[in-house]
Subunit: 208 residues, 2 copies
DNA sequence: TAAACATTGTTATTTAATTAACAGTGAAAT
DNA sequence: ATTTCACTGTTAATTAAATAACAATGTTTA
């Protein structure tokens, strides 16, 4: 089951979100073209992704929602779940924490970190905030394997080093500082300014 | 100059951010491999992107930082600038507004919208917040062409419809609801849960 | 000055991702 | 029944993106 395309992984996560909605609305089956419409992609794309993860149905009544949720879960989730931590509990850190927690069973934000003494040693957005100085210890104690960076750009490099020393396995970097990590740490970067500038560019393009 | 690859546009935005940093640090020239290292990509990729936008240098002392910033600006920015609006000024909306404004000269967040009367008709993160009921009017008055959606997922579809009626040209959607828009509106979607799940998947992969 | 080197610009190749094409098959319609 | 239809699964073709290869050229070094 290894070697799934990166893009497919992203879509599987999205399919699951939609499927969970379907389930909540009492739908038991869903067609490939329904999923496609809900995600602005083609039905072929959906079927191909689902083929790649080895699920298939003999019925012509669409995919079994529950079964498909489980299959996707077995691909994306680990058996025992993973813990993540937010580093920098400003507006963005809070947004992510509040938005995410409780939504998934096998992935959770277990701790947050900050330098500001006003924020540390309190519970923020439902999660305890620790001083960054204790980060190494807490990460090991709580078995945290993913770090989400929402610190000011000038702190990103130093924080990353601490994270890696503490044995973090994956980093999701929301700062505008591009990071350099060894290949055994998975790194995903996202910059909101770039996204906005991209939209601006294509808006300009369309109007020419 | 048209038909630049989408990925190139994203990288140009990132190069410019780095170049502005270089300028602030007094660097006047930068090698392709310097830019590459700063972005975790190859020097070939950098040179190719720069080739595509038609900039070149005869010197073997790297690219002229200032000149390159200008060339990228002429690609990405419009002459007169574009205005964007945040819809939903919760934690995420605030984070984006505060993070973005003032960073660029030809792109700015000109207004924010919310339904909560506690928030409306006040200045939040430096920008005036209007009630969503006035969105159509304000968008036209202030010539806003980009909408950034940070509302709860259940409101996304309705807000989008209003935006499009008001003549918006591009949408950056941070809600978990996937949108359906006509092809003359540029749509970019980003979901943080998906990103986090992707990181979790690849962390799992690496440890097998 | 000439040789060695470093750097860019560009074409060719490879790889990744998407889309098209279509065979197979159960369900519905006649 | 049997024909038509609607869907799925999968291979083939296409398109987009990244990488490799290398010629051209200015710079440094001996």
């Amino acid at each position: 089951m290894s070697k799934l395309p990166e893009k497919t992984i992203g879509r599987l996560s999205e399919y699951r979100r939609t499927l969970l909605n379907c389930l909540a609305n009492g739908k038991t089956h869903v067609f490939s073209h329904d999923l496609a419409n809900l995600h602005n992609i083609t039905a072929v794309q959906v079927r191909r992704d689902i083929m790649l993860i080895g699920y298939s149905t003999t019925l012509k009544k669409g995919y079994d929602v529950k079964a498909l949720i489980d299959v996707i879960g077995n691909i994306i989730d680990t058996k025992d779940g993973l813990n993540a931590a937010i580093i920098g509990i400003g507006n963005l850190g809070r947004a992510i924490t509040a938005y995410f927690n409780g939504k998934r069973t096998r992935l959770k934000i277990a701790a947050t970190f900050d330098t500001d003494p006003e924020k540390t040693n309190r519970v923020i957005s439902g999660v305890k905030c620790y001083p960054i100085s204790e980060m190494g210890r807490i990460i090991k104690e709580q078995d945290i394997s993913i770090g989400i960076l929402t610190v000011p750009p000038e702190d990103a490099a130093a924080v990353t080093e601490t994270l890696i020393m503490a044995g973090i396995k994956g980093i999701l970097n929301y700062t505008s500082t591009s990071l350099n990590v060894s290949p055994n740490v998975y790194l995903e970067e996202y910059d909101m300014i770039t996204s906005l500038e991209k939209v601006a560019y294509f808006v300009k393009e369309k109007n020419e």
